[in-house]
Amino acid sequence: MTATEPVVEPWGPTPDGLDGPYWDGLRVDELRLQRCNECSTWIWGPQAICGHCHSFDLGWETVEPSGTVYSWNRSWYPYMDEYADRLPYVTVLVELPQADGRRVLGILADDVETNPEIGDRVVGVFEHSEGAPWPLLRWRRAATAEGEKG
């Protein structure tokens, strides 16, 4: 299993604070996504306005961190200094059926050699690394996670 080292820069809330609840949620092991208080549409990435009804009255809701792989990529080139020492790594785009199919990104935290397949079930894990200013949401294949539980 590939270690998921702490990362320090440059992530965390955007300067406008729009996505603060997302990052705060990670601290208490919750995946929170934006949702329109007027029309109930799920919204991601973080927006100031609901694109559907144009309400500015947006809230946040906790979503079960499980979904399916919508697409994926394995990075081999050190595009980012912060991840250069853990190449290669797989990033998955995870579709969340319980949030009307909104998709969130995340690193697949295990088994970097096996290709994920679109449609694979994955579950989120909240990674709290010592010294890291913010936790991160990582993903594991559902079978792997269940195996570990058993």
Partner: protein, 397 residues
């Protein structure tokens, strides 16, 4: 509306480009910009003082007032910069110039782009273009985002990876007859392609474009004027730009099948989108295209762009169509990137491809497509804003 004041109203009459290995530009971006503008004016047979409009693509510090001031032009009437990096608005910059001419806002407009590692760093962008919801997950480069979109096109859309490979191999084959291409004298075969190192799967090394220093300029004037300047102007038959609303800007939450497209497809309300608007404005369709220069920062988005434009079938059939034979000049069904393109020639943020598109109308490409009357230039697939321009020979008017 059937009347289209843009069609054939303006033409490219002068082109120039220079490129160097990344980091090896002998001059600043400003000096290179001035040099290529002078060269393009000489190519057109006009005085640089006559330039009254400037359109720069995707940034750069040297706007029209600066460049025009340096050239001591007679009067500045049009100075625009097209938003949209990633090559997306590169064809739109040419449409912008033609719009100025067609509407009488300016008479002689130059479209330009210069890039120098020494001046503005890698691609002239900030270290990280993306926000924390990408960066936190190891995504800090367009390559990785395009790779994920491409992966879905392959795995879910059923497009065989050989479609990408053929596009790359055709580009390298073309570069072998272009002495100024960076890939000249460095032929690429299937084995070398397949064995090249992985960058961002599914992209191997050769799926990714080169980065160069250099500059490009194109001079546009009215069709009337163009006829007096040269026998082979490249008329702008149509240009279109845009993308479905939200395309690629919502942290990979763009709608449905748009995700694996290149962004030229139908709008969210089902209305036609960039590619269809281009065809309808030109009064031509994909079957009428003789030769294509498609922006390929990476091979996958370029394949998606061809599919979006109806030039290549979607799904499994893309593999049958996208063969090296079909994609190479002079006899392929859809010769593309005939100078070697961004992959095997040079990469001045893709504007160099527009010069090659014009050369095909003139018949001066190093890989000329016999009797090419229409020449398509597709900008920046999978960028937030995309664009394309169709050039035509006088006979197409």
């Amino acid at each position: 509306m059937s009347a289209n004041i843009m069609r054939g109203a303006a033409a490219v009459v002068g082109v120039a480009e220079q490129h160097y290995k990344r980091g090896e530009a002998p001059h600043s971006e400003k000096r290179m910009t001035l040099e290529v503008i002078l060269q393009a004016c000489a190519d057109a047979g006009i005085s640089p003082r006559e330039i009254d409009g400037f359109v720069s693509y995707a940034g750069g510090a040297n706007d029209g007032a600066i460049v025009g001031g340096a050239l001591l032009i007679d009067e500045l009437r049009w100075s625009n910069m097209m938003w949209g990096g990633g090559g997306g608005s590169v064809a739109a910059a040419i449409t912008n110039a033609a719009t100025a001419i067609a509407t009488g806002q300016a008479d002689c407009v130059v479209v330009y782009r210069a890039m120098s590692q020494a001046d503005t760093g890698r691609l002239g962008y900030a270290k990280y273009h993306y926000g924390s919801h990408f960066l936190a997950h190891g995504i800090g480069s367009p390559a990785q985002i395009c790779a994920m979109r491409t992966q879905r096109m392959l795995e879910h859309g059923g497009v065989p990876r050989t479609a990408m490979r053929s596009l790359v191999l055709a580009s390298y084959q073309h570069a072998q007859s272009n002495p100024t291409a960076q890939g000249y004298g460095r032929p690429l075969d299937e084995e070398a392609y397949e064995n090249s190192r992985l960058i961002a799967e599914p992209f191997h090394l050769f799926d990714c474009s080169r980065e160069s220093d250099g500059a490009v300029a194109l001079v546009l004037v009215s069709a009337e004027r163009a006829k007096t300047l040269r026998s082979d102007p490249a008329y702008l038959l149509a240009g279109a730009q845009g993308a479905p609303g939200g395309y690629s800007e919502l942290i990979d939450n763009d709608l449905g099948e748009q995700y694996m497209s290149a962004g030229f497809g139908p709008a969210n309300n089902g209305k036609p989108g960039v590619a269809e608007r281009l065809w309808s404005a030109a009064g031509l369709g994909p079957d009428d295209v003789d030769v294509v220069q498609v922006y390929e920062n990476f091979s996958g988005p370029a394949v998606a762009a061809l599919i979006d434009h109806g030039l290549c079938p979607p799904g499994e059939a893309a593999g049958t169509f996208m063969t090296v034979e079909n994609l190479t000049a002079p006899n392929g069904k859809l010769p593309l990137n005939t100078s070697g393109g961004n992959l095997a020639d040079s990469f001045i943020n893709g504007l160099n491809l527009a010069v090659e598109a014009v050369r095909q109308i003139r018949g001066t490409s190093t890989n000329p497509v016999d009797g090419a009357k229409t020449s398509l230039f597709i900008g920046g697939p999978m960028a937030p804003l995309v664009s394309s321009v169709l050039f035509g020979h006088e006979e197409t008017l």
